[in-house]
Each structure stands twice: as structure tokens, then as C-alpha cells.
């Protein structure tokens, strides 16, 4: 009998979203705080994380806490005690992207599981095997990979592999304040709470969200990833974690998306034929709630790159 049971992962900006996404069918939720996390969709305090952990674990669901900032010496002062707090709360794992985590976890004798998520740097299986030997428990692959490459990595490693299946992806991070700098340059007041995007010159339909936080400036992809009608390939490859990135999206939207993918995944695993019949319907439901300025596509999963 096939033991494969994929984990539908989602991100939460606050407790309300966390409860709703859990109810909608997410198996695990990513949370964090910008003090240690890159691109958490909202900032949760330790108390909130504790509450979230109790809530999710009571339903046999998991919580991962993002500590995936690119650390500077300053981060390292408070990081050990933050990690110890997370360990005592008994979260299911941390999501990290700075190589220092392997040293820090060892130094403090922590038993926290590491989900290795170095954004652009998880691109081949040998690299992941290297980090597995140093302590990773699972890994989130880079988004700029073909599904063939994802499959090959999954075949080569013996720990869980996560990929993103929906939502925007991060494509750039600078430590500089690249938005505020522009406002300073033109002499205009900078409101940090304003939503913004950049558009390529002479490319009318481009829309790259851009924002600043404690970790610098982040730019997100032009399109939202949508793999609803390719879940068969992903599930046949037995990819372990299927992640819906909810950053910069309303809770209503994320809740609906999680529910749709929950239904699609369960349908495929129970009855692949039924999945094929129903997938255009799910796709339509997504199009109906998709913001007008955010196109949907399949990212790099079916795309060739040159170099």
C-alpha cells in the first residue's frame, strides 16, 4: 500500500489566517517575524507562535517557523535564545537559509528540525546531500527549476522535498533600502505602508511587487505560480511538501486557494480520473478570485533557461 501523503503547506500573516487556512485544509503552516525571517507574510510574536503551535498540533498539523533571514553579526546575538524559545514551544521545525544555522544549532545543542530554504541556492541534489549530512531534515527547492529537475532531485535524496505550487515567488533581495532611496532621490515623502510594484520599461503588462522590511528590499515575481492542473505530475513524483505562498495576498484569497488545492490533491490521490475531469473547474475557480493585475502561470516548471 502506498504510504505517500503529501503535505499541503501554507503561510499565515496572523493567527486569524492561520486558523482559517488550517480549517481550509492546510497540513502545515509557515509563520515568522521579520526580526529573523525573510518574507514572512506577517509578524507573529512568540506568544502567538505558541498559541498557533498548540492549535495546529491538536489537529495533527504542523507549524514551521521561518528564521530564514540572511544573518549579520547583530542577528546572532538574539538568535540562540529565539531558537531555544521555539524549541521549548515544540514547533515542528525551523525554516532557514543562512549557512550559519548549522553552526548555531550545533553550538546550542538544539534538536530543532531544519527545513533548508536558501531561496535561489537549492538547485541540485549534491548540494542538498551536503546539507543533509550537516543536519537538514527537509529542503525547499529553488523556484527556478524545471519539474524534471525537481523529480530528479527527489529520486536522488532520502529526505522530504518541498516545492512551491501557488502564489508569488521571491526573485530579488537587497540589504539596501531601494524604495526609500528612490523617494529620497526625488525628494518625495516615503510611506512604508504603501503597496508598490515596478513595471519594466515599455512592457505594459509587467507587475513586480516590491517592498522593504528589516531585511532590506524584496522583489516578487511578475506572475503567480499556479500548478492546479499539473498536480498529477507532482503527486506521481511523490514530492513531499506542496507550498502555497500567501505573501501579499488577502486571507480570503488564500483560504479559497488552500481549499481548492486540498480538494484537488485528495481527489487525485483517491481517483486520478476524477482529478482530470475536475481540474478545469478548479482552475476556473482560481481565475475567478485572481486579482486582475496578477497573471497566473507555471513559473520555471516547464521553461528552459539559458546562461
Amino acid at each position: 500500500m502506498n504510504q505517500y501523503k503529501p503535505e499541503l503547506q501554507a503561510t499565515a500573516k496572523d493567527l486569524d489566517e492561520l486558523f482559517r487556512l488550517s480549517d481550509a485544509g492546510a497540513d502545515s503552516i509557515y509563520v515568522g517575524h521579520q526580526d529573523f525571517a525573510n518574507r514572512a507574510s506577517g509578524d507573529l510574536t512568540i506568544d502567538e507562535i505558541k498559541q498557533a503551535t498548540e492549535h495546529l498540533q491538536a489537529q495533527n498539523k504542523k507549524i514551521y517557523v521561518m528564521v530564514n533571514a540572511i544573518y549579520h553579526n547583530e542577528h546572532l546575538k538574539a538568535l540562540p535564545s529565539y531558537l531555544k524559545q521555539l524549541e521549548s514551544i515544540n514547533v515542528d521545525g525551523i525554516v532557514a537559509g543562512d549557512q550559519a544555522i548549522y553552526q548555531v544549532i550545533k553550538d546550542i545543542g538544539s534538536s530543532l528540525s531544519i527545513n533548508w530554504h536558501p531561496s535561489t541556492l537549492a538547485t541540485n541534489y549534491q548540494t542538498l546531500k551536503f546539507w543533509h549530512k550537516r543536519g537538514l531534515s527537509r529542503a525547499t527547492l529553488s523556484n527556478e527549476l524545471s519539474l524534471d529537475a525537481v523529480r530528479e532531485i527527489k529520486e536522488q535524496v532520502d529526505f522530504p522535498i518541498d516545492i512551491q505550487i501557488h502564489g508569488m515567488t521571491n526573485i530579488f533581495q537587497s540589504k539596501r533600502r531601494l524604495v526609500q532611496n528612490y523617494y529620497d532621490h526625488v525628494g518625495q515623502y516615503y510611506d512604508p505602508d504603501q503597496k508598490r510594484f515596478i513595471k519594466e520599461d515599455r512592457k505594459e503588462d509587467t507587475h513586480y511587487p516590491i517592498f522593504e522590511d528589516k531585511n532590506g528590499t524584496h522583489i516578487m515575481s511578475n506572475e503567480d505560480l499556479m500548478m492546479i492542473d499539473h498536480l498529477d505530475i507532482i503527486l506521481d513524483a511523490e514530492i513531499d511538501g506542496l507550498k502555497i505562498e500567501g505573501i501579499l495576498k488577502e486571507t480570503d484569497y488564500n483560504e479559497a486557494i488552500v481549499a481548492i488545492y486540498r480538494e484537488a490533491i485528495d481527489t487525485y490521490l483517491a481517483d486520478p480520473e476524477a482529478y482530470q475531469q475536475k481540474k478545469s473547474g478548479w482552475k476556473q475557480r482560481i481565475y475567478q478570485i485572481q486579482p486582475n493585475d496578477r497573471r497566473l502561470n507555471t513559473g520555471f516548471y516547464f521553461k528552459e533557461q539559458i546562461y
Partner: protein
């Protein structure tokens, strides 16, 4: 008195000729790219034979040759890595610069005695990461460009590992390796050498309000961009030396011979002057003046003294900087006749004001008065590429001195 050891001056070499100039002008080590695993797919890049020749040349000066193998590999890029590293070791390469642990492992397995340095592409930004690599047995990390002088001191105080830090050249405005703008905008993989420099393009910046969007760049008549000024520590080198940096690195495998020779020459001079008399060291404005002759953008100290602001970025039209051509290369000099044999590298002729410069910061200006072709016929201009000329020179010059001319 400084208690520090003299740091290495590390220069880029896009091809064999640039390697020779970099070393002749004072680099203690150069880094080059081979045909595989390197990020500068458009730089000349060395065959193994050229590497061997480069190593032989470097050995005459006691200099070292490093090879950048700094791509972030995909599955299909891993083939042949072991053979490649083995071959690098055999041709006498002193170290490889790598960011991807897959390649680090391949190198350690195939050539255990070949040093591995962690590339800036891996974003080493803190002392725990440095400690991690120290414990892995690696001798050196190249720091991320986001690290300040104070942070470098802390890293050195906490970890006994060699630190390589950039002192001059172009910079990623992102954390290096953490940018895939190029992948998304052009399908060219930045982390495998295909970077289209999308950060330096022009964009429109919109505010996305509830009542629609506002094009802020249009309102201000100034396009949005993320282009960075270039790094230069020409005025602050002792700070990095005293912070304990072991290798001072110049960026630019794609840059010209004129650029490499000029920049290396200046930093060589500064390092030597500082170690000759640390107490009495003073910045010489001629060094700064010389650096600007090779500058391609305005210059910044980036993160070394705190977070860069809008003043460290490039908006609007490029600044008009004086540009210099590499006009001729000195092949020979006859002290009796005071004529130099010069190989033309860019059009020059009688009446032109030119500047000669060579290693040890030797330089002088003169006007060209007497110019002859190879057969001894007087000519007005040296128009043909690589033609051999004779030029009357005001002061003695040497083989591999260079002649530059303002554009």
C-alpha cells in the same frame, strides 16, 4: 605601528594577457575563469594550456592563480566536476573560489590539496558562517559585500580564518546569488553566468492604492532603477588592513587591460606605502586621481561604513566621467636615442597629449612630437591596430609600460 601582515592584492584576469598585466603591475594573486563552472561566461576564460602558461608566468613573480568555479549548479552541471578540479590542481592552480557545496565537495574529493575559498556568491555575512566553513576545514571566505568594516573586525576576532574582501569594482545591488531578476525577465540564469544586469535597467515605480495606481516615476520624471555605484576603497584601504582582511580583491574579469593595470598599480602603491610607514601614512591625491582614470561609474564605499543611501545609487543619465584609452604598449626603449618602440592599441598621433605609466606608480605626461612607423618613415598618426611605432619619449620607460590618452 601596524601589527598586521601585508595582505594579498588579488586582481581579476579575464584572459592570459590581462593575467600578465595584473601580475606585472603588482597583484600578488589573480583569479581567472576556466571553460566550466564559472560565472563570467562572456569573459575570455582560460583553457588548461593557458592556465598552465599563466601559472608559469605567475611563478616568476611568486604570484598565485585562483580559478572561479562559482556557479550555483543544477543537476546537469555536475558532470565532469571531479575531472575538472583534478586538472586544475595538476596545472598548478592555488585555489578555487566556489559557492555551491556540490562543487566544494567535488573539489575536496578530486583534489584534496587544492584550496577551496568560499565565494561571495554564498553571501557570507556573519561570523558564525565563517566559523562553519573554518570547521569544514576551508582556509578562506570571500565576504558578502554587505559587511561593514566593524563587522569584519568582529569576524576576525571570533574566527581564525582568512578573509577576502572586495576593495574595488562593480557590485551586485542584491545579495549576490539571491537575485534571479535576469532569470525571470530574460530566461537567462544569473547564477550560472547568464546575468542580464536587470537591476541596472529602467523601471516605472507604482504606488498601488485602493483607488488605482499612481506612476511615481512618471510624476517625478525620473525612472526607477536599482543600479549601484561602483565600490572603491582607495581612500580608506588602511581601515580594511587594520580590520584584518587577508586578501584585498579587485572586481572585474570583463574589464580591460588598461583598467586592470591602472587599478592594480594604485592599490599596490597604497599597500606598500602603508606598510613602509603606517604611522606617517597619508592619502596621496594622485592615487585617487589615478583611480578615476579607470572609473566607469561614480564610486562609493558601499556597506563598509554603514548602509548605503540614495547617494550610492545611479539614477538618471550616466555621469560624464573622463574616459581614457589604452593608446599604446611599450615594447622596448633605447636610452641612447630616447625612442620607445610602441605597439598601437588605439589611434594616436603627433600633437596628442598622452600619459605613460608603469609599475611602482611611475607616470608622466607628454605631447607626442616625433612619431615613426616600423620602417623609420615619419607618420602623423598611428592608425592601424597593433602597428609598431617609434616614439620620442621625455623620460625612460620600460617593457610593459603603457601609454594612455584621454578620449
Amino acid at each position: 605601528m601596524t601589527t598586521k601582515q601585508k595582505p594579498e592584492l588579488l586582481a581579476p584576469a579575464g584572459n592570459l594577457e590581462k593575467l600578465k598585466f595584473a601580475i606585472h603591475y603588482g597583484a600578488d594573486a589573480v583569479y581567472i575563469g576556466g571553460r566550466q563552472f564559472g560565472l563570467r561566461s562572456k569573459a575570455g576564460n582560460f583553457t588548461f594550456d593557458e592556465m598552465a602558461e599563466g601559472v608559469e608566468f605567475a611563478n616568476q613573480y611568486g604570484a598565485k592563480v585562483y580559478v572561479a568555479t562559482n556557479i550555483i549548479a543544477h543537476n546537469e552541471n555536475l558532470d565532469g566536476a571531479h575531472e575538472y578540479f583534478k586538472k586544475l590542481y595538476e596545472v598548478g592552480i592555488s585555489a578555487v573560489i566556489a559557492a555551491d557545496p556540490a562543487l566544494i565537495d567535488a573539489c575536496r574529493e578530486a583534489a584534496p590539496d587544492l584550496e577551496v575559498h568560499i565565494s561571495t556568491q554564498a553571501s557570507v555575512t556573519n561570523w558564525k558562517t565563517a566559523e562553519f566553513w573554518k570547521n569544514e576545514g576551508l582556509p578562506r571566505v570571500v565576504l558578502a559585500r554587505e559587511v561593514s568594516v566593524e563587522e569584519i573586525k568582529e569576524i576576525k576576532e571570533n574566527v581564525d580564518i582568512e578573509i577576502e574582501a572586495f576593495i574595488h569594482g562593480a557590485m551586485c545591488i542584491s545579495y549576490s546569488g539571491r537575485c534571479v531578476l535576469s532569470n525571470h525577465m530574460t530566461s537567462r540564469d544569473a547564477n550560472r553566468g547568464g546575468c542580464a544586469q536587470s537591476c541596472r535597467w529602467k523601471y516605472d515605480l507604482f504606488e498601488d492604492g485602493t483607488d488605482g495606481t499612481v506612476d511615481i516615476s512618471d510624476e517625478n520624471d525620473e525612472k526607477y532603477t536599482m543600479s549601484s555605484q561602483d565600490l572603491s576603497m582607495v581612500e580608506h584601504l588602511p581601515d580594511l588592513i587594520e580590520a584584518g582582511v587577508d586578501s584585498l580583491k579587485i572586481e572585474g574579469r570583463m574589464k580591460s587591460i588598461h583598467y586592470v593595470a591602472t587599478v592594480v598599480n594604485v592599490y599596490r602603491k597604497i599597500i606598500d606605502a602603508y606598510f613602509e610607514d603606517p604611522e606617517g601614512f597619508e592619502l596621496n591625491s594622485e592615487w585617487v586621481d589615478e583611480i578615476w582614470k579607470a572609473a566607469q561609474r561614480n564610486l562609493s564605499t558601499a556597506f563598509y561604513y554603514g548602509e548605503p543611501t540614495h547617494k550610492d545609487q545611479l539614477y538618471g543619465r550616466p555621469e560624464r566621467l573622463p574616459k581614457y584609452d589604452f593608446a599604446g604598449l611599450v615594447l622596448d626603449y633605447d636610452p641612447e636615442t630616447q625612442f620607445a618602440t610602441i605597439q598601437q592599441r588605439n589611434n594616436f598621433g603627433v600633437g596628442d597629449e598622452v600619459e605613460f605609466f608603469g609599475p611602482n606608480f611611475k607616470r608622466f605626461k607628454q605631447t607626442i612630437v616625433e612619431l615613426y612607423d616600423e620602417t623609420g618613415e615619419p607618420i602623423e598618426r598611428a592608425k592601424h591596430a597593433m602597428m609598431i611605432t617609434k616614439v620620442k619619449i621625455d623620460h625612460p620607460v620600460h617593457y610593459l609600460d603603457m601609454m594612455r590618452k584621454q578620449k
